[in-house]
């Protein structure tokens, strides 16, 4: 009886979380889609002129899409090599005590509010970029540098889990046939952990794409298609964050429409992450699961097994 009650409560909680997702989806699309259809999907996505007020308003988000792409790719270029290096070091090379320090420190990095990152970018990094390269300082490169650090925790923790989850036999086998430690890592362990590493990169992309506050502070928010990494730009999220407070009528609808595009992009990224971790198998009739992280966590080799065998 008691068990059935608990089961029922858990079922209800699951239902609530799915229902809230459904409601959010419904409202974003309901508020944004009419405008997309009115201005035309092609025009909305390809026009780079965003002029929400005035007599002849224009709603084109091409410049923001490109801004988001540039900033996200920049963050990946900085965050992935760094994150992968930390993950490899922490999982394979570092003495256990050091690995035990790195993990909580990175968790701490994830706990810093994004406004603090933005403030650091605005007050410390932007003047440096301005002095070194010219331009306004608030630029794609500034935002990408800081975002690259902001996405480190997700990249490191998932990649490290994936590396640790590689069966002990792979490591032993590689070493037994005479591979050096580096060859073992680069030729055996990293390829074996590939799906987890790719998933971590995609989740990092999602985080960079979705970041708002820090980007508003560091990117300068110019409504132009960035032509160089030193140009200021606007992302999909930062434009919503910047303008929503004052927006009304069509302008507001257009911001929700921007949200629709963002929603679709993030959904695609999450779907890809699930595909790469094997949570979502498209070519077999298996039910897709919701969480990427949980499988990785469940599949990881417990520390006791790893060290004792």
């Amino acid at each position: 009886m008691k068990e059935r009650l608990i089961g029922f409560l858990l079922f209800m909680s699951a239902l609530v979380s799915i229902a809230s997702l459904a409601v959010i989806t419904f409202f974003i699309f309901e508020a944004g889609l009419p405008l997309i259809f009115r201005v035309g999907i092609g025009n909305f996505l390809q026009n780079s002129i965003w002029q929400p007020s005035g007599k002849t308003p224009q709603f084109g988000i091409a410049a923001m899409i490109l801004g988001s792409v540039w900033v996200t790719l920049g963050a990946i270029m900085i965050g992935v090599p760094l994150g992968l290096a930390v993950a490899i070091f922490s999982a394979e090379l570092a003495p256990p005590w050091l690995a035990a320090v790195i993990r909580p420190v990175l968790q701490l990095l994830a706990g810093i509010p994004s406004v603090i990152y933005g403030f650091i970018g605005l007050t410390i990094l932007a003047p440096v970029v301005r002095a070194a390269f010219g331009g306004p300082g608030l630029s794609v490169v500034t935002a990408a540098l800081i975002l690259g650090i902001m996405i480190l925790p997700s990249i490191v923790s998932i990649s490290e889990d994936a590396l640790r989850a590689v069966p002990r036999a792979y490591r032993d086998g590689a070493l037994a046939v005479g591979a050096t430690q580096w060859q073992t890592i680069w030729r055996v362990l990293v390829p074996a952990a590939r799906s987890g590493i790719v998933a971590s990169i995609i989740l990092g992309m999602g985080r960079a794409l979705g970041e708002t506050m820090a980007v508003i502070m560091m990117l300068g928010n110019a409504l132009q298609v960035p032509r160089s990494p030193l140009d200021s730009a606007t992302t999909l999220t930062s434009n919503i964050g910047l303008e929503l407070a004052y927006a009304s009528g069509q302008h507001r609808e257009a911001l929700f429409a921007t949200g629709v595009v963002l929603f679709v992009l993030i959904m695609i990224l999450n779907l890809l992450a699930n595909v790469f971790t094997g949570r979502l198998v498209l070519w077999r009739s298996r039910a897709p699961s919701l969480s990427t992280m949980r499988t990785l966590w469940r599949n990881r080799v417990p520390a006791s097994d790893r060290r004792s065998s």
Binding site: L122, G220, Q224, E243, A245, S248
Partner: protein
């Protein structure tokens, strides 16, 4: 044909509700909605007013001029706040009360040798047709334009007063507040921006426009042109509540006005 009767009943009911709340001695409530530019000043005035009238409570909501005008039009609030003039269709139903005037200062980095620009030059800089400081007699450096986001009252005022409805250059940086614009300009030697005169400080330099330095005196004499009104708006056909009436009277009184002037604004045309 029953209009006067209905109006009379309406006023009577307003009067009665006014009496009722006064008699019940519960806290009087008044809500003002509108321009985020007016909000900090309205909050300050409300705070002083509440000290003098401890039984009353005034809520100030900064949602933007258009939202304030709309809220006053459809009767959601008694008083709306706007930092732009009412448009023609809006004046049909609403009465504007100018509580103060705010000058827009054009600011540049203190190290920039420029001290004066014509309004045409300012427009050309912000539209991007002048893109180097050397074209207006300054150093050879690319101009970094800092503007506000579409929809903000300051942007609306600048668009109207300077830009002639032309659009700012695409490369213009956009910031979400007066303070953010000031910070960017204070840090970038090549930047130009515009903020409320009241919050100009040592970190930036306000230049004169067409030979007139932005100052309270120049605004009062009408010489400085980049001036926008801070308005309270109310429906023409509605009577203010007792608290609304009292607060408005306080804002327009010598005491209220002095507080606004000390905060960096210029006396409103409707002040006593």
């Amino acid at each position: 044909m029953h209009y006067p009767l209905v109006l009379g009943l309406l006023i009577l009911s307003l009067f009665l509700t006014g009496c009722g709340s006064a008699a019940s001695a519960a806290a009087d409530q008044l809500t003002l909605t509108g321009s985020t530019s007016v909000t900090p000043f309205a909050e300050q005035l409300a705070e002083t007013f509440e000290k003098q009238h401890p039984e009353s409570h005034i809520n100030i909501q900064g949602l933007g001029s258009s939202a304030g005008i709309q809220a006053a039009t459809n009767g959601t609030v008694e008083l709306g706040m706007s930092s732009r003039q009412l448009e023609e269709d809006e004046t049909e139903q609403l009465q504007p009360i100018e509580i103060a005037r705010d000058a827009l200062a054009i600011i540049i980095h203190p190290s920039n040798p420029i001290t004066d620009l014509t309004s045409e030059q300012v427009r050309a800089i912000f539209t991007g047709s002048i893109s180097n400081w050397s074209e207006v007699g300054g150093p050879d450096a690319r101009i970094v334009i800092v503007t506000r986001e579409a929809g903000s009252g300051t942007y609306g005022a600048f668009e109207e007063l300077v830009m002639n409805k032309e659009l700012p250059a695409q490369s213009a940086l956009r910031q979400g507040s007066n303070g953010a614009v000031r910070q960017i300009v204070a840090e970038d030697a090549d930047a130009i921006g515009y903020i409320s005169l009241g919050i100009v400080d040592q970190s930036v330099k306000a230049i004169s426009i067409d030979g007139v330095q932005a100052s309270t005196a120049a605004v009062l004499s009408g010489q400085y042109k980049l001036v926008r009104p801070f308005l309270f708006v109310k429906r023409k056909d509605a009577q203010l509540s007792r608290l609304g009436e009292a607060f408005l009277a306080f804002v327009l009184s010598a005491e209220g006005q002095q507080e606004l002037v000390q905060a960096g604004l210029v006396q409103g045309a409707d002040a006593q």
